[in-house]
């Protein structure tokens, strides 16, 4: 069987179906399955990556030519994001290995695999309705995982998430409906081609529906009320899943749609403004949180605001910076959720005030938290530095000095609340000593992330070399249409 | 074994009703599916006392259907009369009805028959007693209730099921 992008979707799906059967033979073996799957996907990613970078792979599911069948589009952007999902997925699995030990853990792994399926599906698909299906797969898996601990708060958070998520799917579905009415097609490239003929009013309203629908999962203010609850009540690795995978895939979907179908500048300005508002509100909220995971959640929203700002610039450096920020945030927030997970576990409380002195007790876990905190603030030599710098530079290139200042102000707020926790970890008197140890697999997961974060911080080119073509792909609509529909160049002339 | 075959036959017949086709592909598919379903359901399906058919039974079933349809028509005209009448001439109540039938299936058919016949509706079956909502309670005498409501069915149902 030759390697093909569909395996990013099919293999974890197959594994999810397989897990219950394996579970009948040996429950412990179940835990290994996602690891094996993700290792295999890394192998696939490594092999496909150069090919996708060189020339996008357009896979026709069931062999129908676009726009009559569903296609997968594996270009540089998808290559980058699937690789990211695979990487994050792997460390999350590693971390979960000893963290998720309560029954029914095989269901956890099934949901986790399905979530991987959903997010890679969102990233790969070249069909708008298919994207909706994968968005829903991701969302439902996320609802279930939020309530996985079956406690009072988890259920509440999941219910809110589901409530808002249902609105999200309604709006997206309405938008898809209108698109089909107007263009008579569902293939993204074909839609992009035909969107030029759609009346502007219709276009705007379709866009509004998409912005609202996808903005919910992309955590745009004021659509993000669900996020702090869900992030903080879900098991820690799941919080990492949200921040590292789910939101990333959704933002990708939003931006792909916006760039492909509505490429006019006022829209992008709108994103810059929404991004700024989202960022500032989230950072202010984060500062006032008493629970560490809620704080991390708001911080995630703030970071997403930053990503949205960069995407909203509508320039190639902006998009690249946004992608870089997405990558870094995925890694760093995962590290933070991982370490916070064990800090909460060791201190026995979700409250920041309970973390006093854990730095002495649990030096490594605390070290990783501090590491993540410094990295997410955007301090060198960690990866977060570069993406923040690139965002600032691209914002300045767009002559939005006010936005530069606002971003930096929010960075100062970030410093305050992150370092407050870090200081607490190290310098307050210790409370009771928790004799339990942070398991090796958890530390290994954090270690891998820390190494990657540091490596990318020292050698940002490794990522940037991938990101440049990825950003170009998102910007270059006509190329996407041409490749996606197998049109010869020259046949195509679109004007927005 | 006979229960198995009987069940299978019933299912297969119904399958043919679904497909209304003698295409061998359909027949084979029907046989396979009926077989599968028979496997896990023939026991419960036949413990209702439907397991074998003989001419006498068949005759009684047909007879029952006639009685039933006539009763159904009577019932409907009765309902129509009442519904259309602006005064809604009703005198409802619930009466207890002692059945002489022993088989559960028979009781169920009796109950259903009673439901569909003039002015009566089975609310519950407990042991030998059927509780029947009667739109026009003309008597409270158990014997009369028996003959008035269900006797005509019981006779035939006894033949079929016992």
């Amino acid at each position: 069987m030759s390697l093909s992008p569909v395996q990013f979707i099919a293999v974890p799906l197959f594994a999810a179906f397989l897990i219950p059967l394996i579970g009948k033979a040996s429950k412990e073996t179940v835990k290994l399955v996602p690891g094996i799957v993700l290792l295999y996907l890394s192998y696939v990613a490594l092999n496909l990556f150069p090919r996708g970078l060189e020339r996008p792979i357009v896979e026709h599911i069931a062999g129908f030519n676009p726009p009559f069948g569903i296609t997968l589009y594996y270009g540089p952007l998808a290559a980058f994001l699937t690789t990211l999902v695979t990487l994050i997925g792997f460390v999350i699995w590693l971390y979960s290995y000893k963290f998720i030990i309560r029954e029914p853990f095989e269901k956890y792994y099934m949901l986790f695999m399905l979530l991987i399926t959903g997010s890679t599906g969102i990233i790969l698909t070249g069909d708008i309705f298919n994207m909706f299906v994968f968005l829903e797969i991701t969302a439902i898996a996320a609802y279930s995982l939020t309530a996985f601990l079956r406690d009072k708060d988890g259920a509440e958070a999941a219910f809110k998430y589901l409530l808002i998520g249902s609105f999200s799917s309604t709006f997206v579905l309405l938008a898809i409906l209108l698109i089909y009415m107007q263009t008579g097609t569902l293939n993204l490239a074909d839609i992009a081609l035909k969107m030029a003929d759609v009346p502007i009013t219709m276009k705007i309203f379709i866009l509004i529906l998409f912005i609202t629908g996808l903005g919910i999962e992309a955590e745009i203010f004021p659509l993000n009320g669900w996020a702090p609850d869900a992030y903080s009540q879900a098991p820690s690795p799941v919080g990492a899943v949200f921040g590292g995978i789910v939101v990333k895939a959704t933002i990708y979907a939003l931006m792909r749609i916006v760039y492909l179908m509505f490429n006019f500048h006022s829209v992008l300005h709108f994103f810059v403004i929404m991004g700024v508002i989202t960022m500032l509100i989230a950072e202010m909220s984060a500062m006032r949180q008493h629970q560490i995971k809620r704080m991390l959640a708001f911080s995630s929203i703030g970071q997403m605001g930053l990503v949205i700002i960069a995407f909203g610039l509508g320039t190639e450096p902006g998009v690249r910076a946004a992608l870089f920020q997405m990558f870094n945030h995925a890694l760093i927030k995962t590290l933070l959720f991982f370490s916070a997970g064990y800090l909460v576990f060791h201190s026995g409380s979700k409250h920041i005030s309970a973390l006093d002195g854990l730095g002495r007790d649990k030096p490594l876990t605390s070290f990783f938290f501090a590491f993540g905190a410094l990295a997410i603030i955007g301090l060198p030599p960690f990866a977060g530095f570069w993406s923040k710098l690139y965002i600032l530079l691209s914002v300045a290139d767009a002559h939005l000095v006010t936005v530069v200042v606002l971003i930096l102000i929010s960075a100062v707020i970030e410093i305050v609340y992150y370092l407050r926790v870090v200081s607490r970890l190290y310098f307050k008197r210790e409370t009771a000593t928790d004799v339990r140890r942070t398991p090796l697999s958890g530390l290994a997961a954090m270690g891998i992330l820390a190494v990657v974060i540091l490596f990318v911080g020292l050698y940002p080119n490794t990522i940037l070399d991938w990101l440049t073509p990825a950003a170009r792909e998102l910007m270059n609509t006509s190329e996407y249409i041409r490749t996606g529909l197998h049109l010869n160049s020259g046949l195509l002339s679109i004007n927005f | 074994m006979s229960r198995f075959i009987f069940t299978f036959a019933v299912y297969f017949l119904i399958w043919m009703g679904f497909t209304t086709s003698f295409d061998p592909q359909e027949l084979i598919a029907g046989a396979v599916l009926s077989l599968i379903i028979t496997f896990f359901s023939y026991k419960s399906f036949t413990d209702l006392g439907l397991s074998f058919l003989n001419p006498k039974r068949l005759f009684n079933i047909v007879k029952y259907m006639f009685v039933f349809i006539i009763a159904l028509f009577k019932a409907n005209f009765d309902v129509a009369k009442r519904v259309i009448n602006p005064k809604l001439p009703i005198n409802p109540g619930i009466v207890a009805y002692k059945t002489k039938l022993k088989s559960d299936t028979a009781k169920v058919f009796l109950a259903n028959s009673i439901t569909l016949t003039p002015g009566t509706l089975t609310v519950d079956v407990i042991g030998d007693t059927l509780y029947i909502h009667w739109i026009d309670v003309i008597t409270k005498d158990p014997q009369k209730i028996y003959s008035e409501i269900g006797e005509q069915f019981e006779v035939i149902l006894k033949e079929i099921f016992e």
Binding site: - | T20, L72, N76, V79, V83, L88, I94, A111, N112, L121
Partner: protein, 114 residues
Amino acid sequence: MSVLTYLGYAMVTVGVIFLFLGALGIFRMPDVYNRLQAGTKATTLGALGTILGVGLLQPEWFWKTLIIAIFIAISNPISSHALARGSYKIGIKPITKEDDMDAYAGVETENEEE
């Protein structure tokens, strides 16, 4: 037109009339039990008439319509009964002219283990 066609149309006509009457009964009758009485009987007959009528009008459909008809004949009284029992269980007393006309009052449903 064959006899079957005439018969078919007749049955459909009677059927829809009874469907209507059944619905009217549901609408007019004073309490849930009486509504069930009217609804069940009239709509059952109405549906049977309509469906089998179509079966006669379109003879190649007859078997399927017969299956539907049989199913309705069996299922409708069952659901009516279940509804009556359910209504009684949640405390809806039937309207009666005299007080002692509710033989079901106070009867405990057995809850046997099987």
